[in-house]
Symmetry: C2
């Protein structure tokens, strides 16, 4: 009997986790695994690109976790690089593809199909956005272009977007000595933090010499006669416009699920634009089609609403779940709570669960508390400031969300609060926990516990 065939579209985190996991239980004689990937790269860390641009790591090779050759040899995968899937025929169980370089086309039958097409960069439809010198930071090719552009010695870089990419690229480019401006349409950088926490990030950026413009939506890229970017125009909500010179424009306006191929094939797409799957990562609409990673939507365990969050951590886990099931085992993906972290120089930034605005949208009545403490015992010379904000459900006293901004050792504390939210803990229960203490790692009441205690006191005050 010839082996059945699994075709995987996309060779990054989700696709390759699924392939590796499926291979663990089903050998090449049992399951033929074909991977179609339109780029030349596989299994790389997109999150590491800013560190490459910033010069902390020497080469894009360092970002590649496993080469194509390693995938072929270690897992007996039929890796077809620079081959783009162009259409899925779900009725016929075939995928049409095209060789990116030669343009040659073909078609492939599958028994099971796995869609792992990832996310695509959001590019605004505005004049000049296609100009030379307007770049994204989504994949290794983007990174290469950026480094090439930096060789041309730009003087003034404008980064549009104040999210993870905006923050991290501001650090990288400021570190290379460029004049850097960050423009965000939000009230503060880091729109998935509440503004009272985002302002701490803005302050640190300004102190590092980065110009930060808030309430500033990109409306034009100004170009010279040769079609190269020479500036941008920003507009506030009230209509005030601001023109800034720029010879390099970095777009960091976020991503959306790359679900167009699936949608064209009639595969169920949700309100977030992501492919809908069940808990096993099987498509809701097609039993022999699976999907994982940035192209799917999942459930937010706190809001209980569909969400699409593009993160390598989810992609890896979802790919592994799909691969386990494709391999004949049983696994499910339990949803997400939106935990994330980043850094601007010495300032660590992290969040989990719902922000105030997200909680309101999800129907919760909340109260927020914020505390300031130190990352080490206050008497040690290395102690730095840390601010912890908690968002608590008025009805149940459950912790709904948390945000942390502070010095070295701050960000990873978010995982304690993520674990607490995962377990539906009340702020009372959190405040009682037995967490570690030693002077180099925090004060005797860890900032997480101080924050929970303040939330307990606040709810007690509400109730009296």
């Amino acid at each position: 009997m010839s082996p059945s065939r699994l075709v995987i579209i996309g060779a990054d985190a989700a696709g390759m986790s699924a392939a590796a996991q499926a291979r663990r239980s089903r050998g090449p004689d049992d399951l033929d695994i074909v991977v179609l990937e339109r780029s030349s790269h596989t299994s790389y860390s997109a999150c590491g690109i800013p560190f490459w641009i910033g010069g902390e790591i020497a080469s894009a090779d360092d970002l590649v976790a496993r080469t194509v050759q390693e995938h072929r040899e270690k897992h007996h995968l039929d890796m077809r690089m620079r081959v783009e899937a162009t259409a899925i025929d779900a009725a016929a169980s075939t995928v049409a593809y095209r060789y990116v370089d030669s343009g040659r086309t073909g078609s492939l039958e599958y028994d099971q199909l796995m869609i792992a097409t990832g996310a695509e960069r959001i590019t605004p439809s505005i004049p000049g956005v296609d100009a030379t010198g307007v770049l994204g930071v989504r994949n290794l090719d983007d990174g290469g272009e950026m480094l090439a552009a930096l060789e041309r010695d730009p003087q003034h870089v404008v980064i549009v977007g104040g999210g993870y990419v905006g923050i991290e690229m501001a650090e990288a480019l400021r570190g290379r000595g460029l004049r850097v401006t960050v423009a965000t349409s939000g009230d503060q950088p880091m729109s998935n933090l509440d503004p009272d926490m985002g302002v701490l990030v803005a302050r640190a950026m300004r102190e590092a010499g980065v110009d930060v413009h808030v309430d500033a939506r990109l409306t034009h890229v100004l170009t010279d006669a040769a079609g190269a970017a020479r500036g941008i125009t920003l507009q506030s909500r009230t209509g005030t416009t601001l023109e800034l010179p720029a010879d390099l424009v970095v777009l960091g306006l976020g991503v959306r699920p790359a679900s167009g191929l699936a949608e064209a094939a009639g595969i169920a797409i949700g309100e977030t634009g992501g492919i809908q799957t069940d808990a096993s990562m099987r498509s809701r609409s097609h039993p022999n089609i699976w999907a994982a990673g940035d192209c799917v939507e999942t459930i937010h365990r706190v809001s209980l609403a569909p969400t699409a969050i593009a993160l390598g951590t989810h992609a890896n886990k979802q790919g592994r779940v799909a691969g386990t099931n494709l391999g004949g085992g049983h696994a499910t993906f339990p949803g997400v709570i939106g935990t994330a972290a980043t850094r601007f120089r010495g300032l660590e930034i992290a969040r989990t669960g719902l922000s105030e605005a997200q909680a309101r949208l999800a129907g919760f009545a909340t109260y927020s508390t914020r505390i300031e403490s130190t990352t080490q015992a206050g008497y040690l010379p290395g102690a730095e400031a840390i601010t912890v904000k908690l968002i608590t459900d008025v009805a149940s006293r459950r912790l709904l969300g948390a945000q942390i901004v502070g010095g070295t050792g701050s960000a990873k504390r978010i995982d304690v609060l993520a674990t607490a939210i995962w377990n539906s803990m009340s702020v009372e229960a959190i405040s009682e926990m037995d967490l570690s203490y030693a002077p180099p790692f925090g004060p005797v009441w860890d900032p997480v516990l101080i924050a929970a205690r303040k939330a307990v006191d606040a709810v007690a005050a509400r109730n009296t």
Copy 2:
């Protein structure tokens, strides 16, 4: 009506937390709070003493969180310093005391009594242990003596005991350029880690030039004609003896509950030597006597056995609970899980829950898994090694204990596993959690998740 009187014996973490908390709801006209403290200090960080000895902080004053004067003024407390409680008459509701300096004695009536006498250093009954140059590191006076001894320019220090004090004093004294030997009767330093993790600590100590002797029990302190320490004798389990020169001997053999005063008064003492209380921190035997901090025993939430762990974190929480109840509110202490952390130079060390040996004693059948990963994404130049060990219950797949040894950013990850244990999570459930990821803070699968995944795989392998 005259106010009722609360007498508190001991002015450190537990006692002063209780006093401050009780005062929040009951003013001086309602509750007279008298605090008896035999030393001159109050509310200091005993855990900070090694950093003072090591020169990281300039003065003992930095370790004092709140002065006697501040307690008097802020909380209207009747602070009686250098006054030692010598006996409790529970039937008469009186405490006998003695002025340490004048020897004058007296007696005080109480309506409620709170015992917060802390822990006392374990000193072995061996020849020479009272010699000049044999010192402990329990309180600020010990610290002052140690600094005075260091002025006399000792050449060779032997630290007896490989626990927190041993590790931290080795760092402090090695940092001052002394020749340092650590001797422990255990198989490795850090006996509350399993030996396969403790050996990583021993290795780091040896690399830093500290001599480490294991299976080495202190049997003699050798003295010169003037009664000063000049060496020690160690003995292995098989009887082999080893003599080491030493002009300074630091005892770090642990502590036990200072419950003698309570015991003499007939107050219920448990098998651990700690005062027995209910969840409200009220003495099991005497309704108007309360106790908190290092002098009490509490319940270990995993072993479900009584335990006495001397830690400022518990003392603070228990004191707060007692104070809330004494103030007319309602609070309970939920027990502990033995979370703790320390550092030897760049190596961070942390643990929570049960070790293998503790789990066996508590009646669990366990399996252990250990993984190695990095503290940052492996491609970043600052990435350091981190080892995570999990101890899992065979019967329920619940996580029972965890141990972490590694570079910067390792130790505080124990709090994620502590939170998981607090919530009785299985290793499967832990492996599914949505934890933060960014390259400066870890690899895409956090070491905690990699460890949980390995435990899941191990249990799956056991069951097939």
